[in-house]
């Protein structure tokens, strides 16, 4: 047996020892365990990319048959993404959890770290196991450990409720997956394993089974309308957990969808169209909902839905490209989608960490109470800005690269495609352009309201910069963002290896090499120009007088700079007017009465409703509850009545028997 596997299992087992340790050493112990896991798995993953082969190791024996660890380039890619994000999350947790060391008891903290380690282990195993039973078990462990991570603040009733909601929705997902696997098992009579999906799909129409898996995995990924747990769970969880969950855990859903797709080789058009449609919907609605949020972490959570949408758009286009036999569309669709998985894991975890730092220093997530933080927390602010630019898909950062691949694939395929494909592409790139524009809208809003202007409350006034340990992950992620943004060329060949699994050929990547070089060149020139103009300005301003005055207020100087600023609500207002049906913002305020000569103090509040949550969950639930209430009149609590019911039942039974109806 391989040395690495023994080590891997040993350290998984060793994680139990965390409960024996004192509070202070919990972090170092987790760091030790997870570092070893990261080293082992990253070694496997990189060797796959370098040697271009697959790895299979025997792992455990489950109910009499052996379960192997299988790593191909798709798994390897996910392993690297998971490892990087979990590592940054763990480092961030050291700083973030400092205040909790005093308030939480030892078991609570140890349990938290233990679950963090197990979330890591389970995600690694999810992408490595092909045996369906083992996969479902480890999928369940992943849901459970993330559930316990979400309810870290379990003293708050709301957090607990959100956690339970999350747990229930995850179980619906598991049931769907289980049904899918059982269905395959029954139809093919084969093993309970991923590999038998191939046998099933070869002989059956794939759409319905794929839809089952898509629903099951889609709940984890957060596709609209399966997303309702996401905007609740992310704000409730501690920030390092939100970062890891949004950065990589929801991508496990995407992994599942990709894995299932690998076994489907015919009737792909419908599947591609389904994925693309849902993804476009997720993208546009996700970002629209994000714009109207005031809670910074909820806003970021909605952006996760948007980005899952972008990933899905790439994948959907890829599938359509396969179906229509347009190599540019399939290769660059899958390529862009898969690269966006990495990119999103980077900037989204960065944004959650910096947002968490803001929360830690100001104790509020409501951006209407923040403002001017760039002066108090300059490094955090600049890292947030970096994440904001990257997530908006702007050059020269990494988000642009993946969106560029998707655009490139689409424009390149227009000429080859037939009328159907052309219309699909038309709506997709228009949609993608709108998503990009809305993301700019949203992130200019959240960045300016949170970090710019003047503080809107005492909480924001008193904020100070966070410790180095909380900035370190931001440095690490920032480096990666710039690396992908400026040197995208070096990421193309590993990406081609992954895409090869789906498309079989990857020649468009060769086509892309000069393009990527030109993009790097252009971005380099941009930086050089910015530098030159900066130096010119410094030189010019040395010779002239500079002065500082207060902001131009139309010559009115009595304004209070804190309260007379633009707010998040007013920034979003013109968009809300445009999309009132979609985002459903409710305003709460009292009108002025005619006879009200001396008006009393007024307040104004807005909150947004999630349309899908309303239609799919709230309304049916309310109807059901109302119906049950009506039925409940039979439950009087008097024994006489119950005896009467029994009598009526017996009479009906005997009458029916007499009439020979049963």
């Amino acid at each position: 047996m391989h040395m690495e596997i023994i080590l891997f299992k040993l350290f998984i087992g060793l994680s139990l020892a965390i409960f024996l340790l004192p509070k202070k050493s919990l972090f170092y112990f987790s760091l030790f365990i997870q570092s070893v896991l990261i080293v082992i798995t990253s070694y496997w993953a990189t060797s796959i990319f370098l040697l271009d082969k697959k790895i299979t190791h025997p792992f455990i024996s489950l109910l009499g048959h052996n379960v192997n660890v299988n790593i191909d380039s798709l798994s390897a890619f996910f392993i690297l993404v998971i490892n990087f994000t979990v590592l940054t999350g763990l480092i961030y947790a050291k700083g973030y959890l400092v205040p909790y060391i005093k308030t939480k008891n030892k078991i609570d903290l140890a349990w938290h770290y233990f679950n963090f380690i197990w979330l890591h282990i389970s995600m690694l195993l999810v992408v490595m196991l092909h045996d369906a039973l083992a996969f479902l078990i480890i999928w369940e462990i992943m849901s459970l450990s993330s559930f316990f991570l979400v309810i870290f603040d379990h003293e708050k009733k709301a957090t607990l409720k959100i956690g339970v909601n999350y747990l229930i929705q995850m179980h619906i997902g598991v049931v769907l997956l289980m049904v899918g696997f059982i269905w395959v098992n029954v139809q093919t009579g084969g093993d309970f394993s991923f590999d038998w999906l191939g046998v099933y799909f070869a002989t059956h129409p794939p759409l319905y089974l794929f839809m089952l898996f898509f629903l099951g995995f889609g709940i984890k990924a957060g596709f609209i309308p399966l997303h309702t747990w996401l905007p609740q769970a992310h704000p409730a969880a501690p920030s390092h957990v939100s970062g890891v969950m949004s950065g990589v855990m929801i991508k496990m859903g995407i992994y599942g969808i990709l894995r299932v797709l690998m076994y489907i080789h015919h009737d792909l058009f419908d599947i591609g169209f389904l994925v693309l449609f849902i993804s476009l919907l997720s993208g546009i609605i996700g970002v629209s909902m994000a714009i109207v949020q005031h809670d910074i972490k909820k806003l970021l959570a909605y952006h996760s839905i948007e980005n899952i949408g972008i990933i899905g758009i790439g994948i959907g286009l890829g599938i359509i490209g396969l179906a229509e036999n347009i190599p540019f569309l399939s290769v660059l669709g899958f390529g862009g989608g898969i690269l966006h998985i990495l990119n999103h894991s980077l900037f989204k975890s960065l944004l959650f960490y910096t947002a968490g730092s803001v929360y830690k220093q100001t104790h509020t997530r409501n951006i209407e109470q923040l403002g001017g933080l760039i002066k108090k927390m300059p490094k955090t602010a600049l890292f947030f800005l970096l994440g904001a630019l990257a997530i908006s898909g702007l050059p020269p950062f990494n988000g642009f690269i993946s969106e560029f691949l998707i655009y490139f694939g689409m424009f390149k395929s227009l000429h080859l495609g037939n009328l159907n494909t052309n219309f699909i592409i038309l709506f997709t790139f228009s949609g993608l352009a709108i998503i990009g524009g809305l993301a700019v809208f949203c992130f200019t809003k959240v960045f300016s309201i949170t970090f710019l202007g003047t503080p809107r409350s005492n909480k924001a006034k008193k904020a100070v910069e966070v410790d180095f340990v909380m900035l370190l992950p931001a440095f690490m992620i920032g480096t990666m963002i710039l690396l992908i943004g400026f040197f995208s060329g070096i990421f193309m060949s590993p990406l081609a290896q992954i895409v090869h699994l789906f498309t079989g050929n990857t020649f468009p990547f060769k086509h892309l090499v000069p393009v990527m070089n030109h993009i790097s060149l252009s971005s380099g020139i941009l930086i050089v120009f910015a530098g030159i103009f900066m130096i010119l300005r410094i030189w010019q301003q040395k010779q002239h007088k500079l002065s500082e005055k207060s902001t131009w207020g139309c010559a009115y100087t009595g304004a209070n700079p804190a309260t007379h600023q633009y707010t998040a609500t007013s920034f979003a207002d013109n968009f809300i007017q445009l999309s009132a049906q979609l985002v459903q913002v409710k305003r709460g305020f009292k009108h002025f009465e005619e006879e009200e000569i001396f008006p009393e103090e007024r307040s104004f509040k807005t909150h947004s409703l999630d349309v899908f949550e309303n239609i799919l969950f709230r309304l049916p639930l309310h109807k059901m509850i109302r119906m049950f209430r009506k039925i409940a009149i039979f439950q009087t609590g008097k024994i006489q009545h119950y005896l009467l019911y029994a009598l009526i039942f017996l009479i009906i039974i005997s009458v029916l028997t007499y009439l020979n109806w049963i």
Partner: protein
């Protein structure tokens, strides 16, 4: 390189021609064609006033905005003369590059903590997001038509085809003129001559910029006009002409474009603020018409 130089050169006169046209129609004394240049040179000789509310973002924003616009000139071909940077998919980079500039200007405006600038900033954010799809659809139509996806090849291959090109060109030029107006915050979206902050879009965003920064912002406007003017001229300039004639033709079209803008600005009233989004979505709708026409020309939609 030549395309870059003549673009920069033509940009200097552009705004001057617009204001000359407007003055002529209105019966006023015409300003010098170089008046905008003098104004900018004067700004370069001045110091600057920075608001106490602002941070590093306010100082970064004009620099990055100007760099993005300056770099965007690199991508634009003039007739048969390729841009300094030309690669497949460069128009995607071009759009997102301008997006980066807008992002910086918006947060730069918000950095002052002024409600006026907030108002302008969020209008700018909304309008630019609404106009983006139209540009992509237009470029998509050309990509569909020519099977090339860089500015240079799109336009050079456009003319190799038959006369049907002109059906696309006319609508495309109409679209590009209005896109240029939106990009530069001109009529009918925004009135650069308004004196009321509440009705401004772009002007109100730069209220607190002064000196060097303001000069850069002004030059960026010239460059943007020149860029869109060049895109328009690329639809028209026949690529089989000799290069000097093409350049002359280019200047002719630039002047004509400036005059058209002058006319538009004098004779057209500004949209109501609340009507702007609809008007912008209309641009995308027209772009879809271009796309459909292209589908018909390329025989993907077969008409009987």
């Amino acid at each position: 390189m030549i395309s870059f130089i003549i673009l920069i050169f033509s940009s200097i006169f552009f705004v001057g021609i617009i204001s000359q046209t407007k003055a002529m129609i209105r019966g006023r004394k015409r300003p010098s064609i170089l008046q905008p240049l003098y104004a900018v040179l004067r700004l370069f000789k001045k110091g600057a006033v920075y608001s106490t509310t602002t941070s590093i973002i306010f100082k970064l924003a004009p620099i990055i905005y100007f760099s993005t616009v300056f770099l965007s000139v690199f991508f634009i071909p003039v007739g048969k003369l390729s841009g300094l940077l030309s690669f497949e998919g460069d128009f995607i980079y071009f759009v997102y590059l301008l997006g980066l500039g807008k992002f910086m200007m918006i947060i730069g405006a918000m950095d002052t903590g002024s409600s006026f600038e907030g108002m302008g900033a969020n209008r700018e954010a909304l309008y630019s997001l609404l106009v983006e799809p139209a540009f992509f659809i237009l470029m998509g139509s050309l990509a569909l038509f020519t099977d090339h996806i860089s500015f240079y090849e799109l336009f050079t291959h456009l003319h190799l085809h038959n006369n049907l090109t002109y059906t696309i060109s006319i609508v495309s030029i109409y679209l590009l003129i209005f896109m240029a107006m939106v990009e530069n915050s001109r009529m009918p979206i925004d009135d650069p001559e308004t004196h009321l902050e509440l009705t401004m879009v772009h002007e109100v965003m730069v209220l607190d910029n002064s000196g060097f920064d303001l000069a850069l912002i002004h030059i960026a406007t010239w460059l943007k006009f020149a860029v869109f003017g060049a895109l328009i001229s690329d639809f028209i300039i026949p690529t089989d002409w000799a290069i000097p004639y093409q350049i002359l033709f280019f200047f002719g079209i630039q002047i004509l474009f400036a005059i058209i803008i002058g006319f538009l600005e004098t004779f057209r009233a500004r949209n109501k603020m609340a009507k702007n989004p609809q008007w912008l979505i209309m641009l995308s709708a027209i772009a879809i018409v271009v796309f459909l026409t292209t589908l018909i020309i390329t025989n993907k939609i077969i008409l009987h």
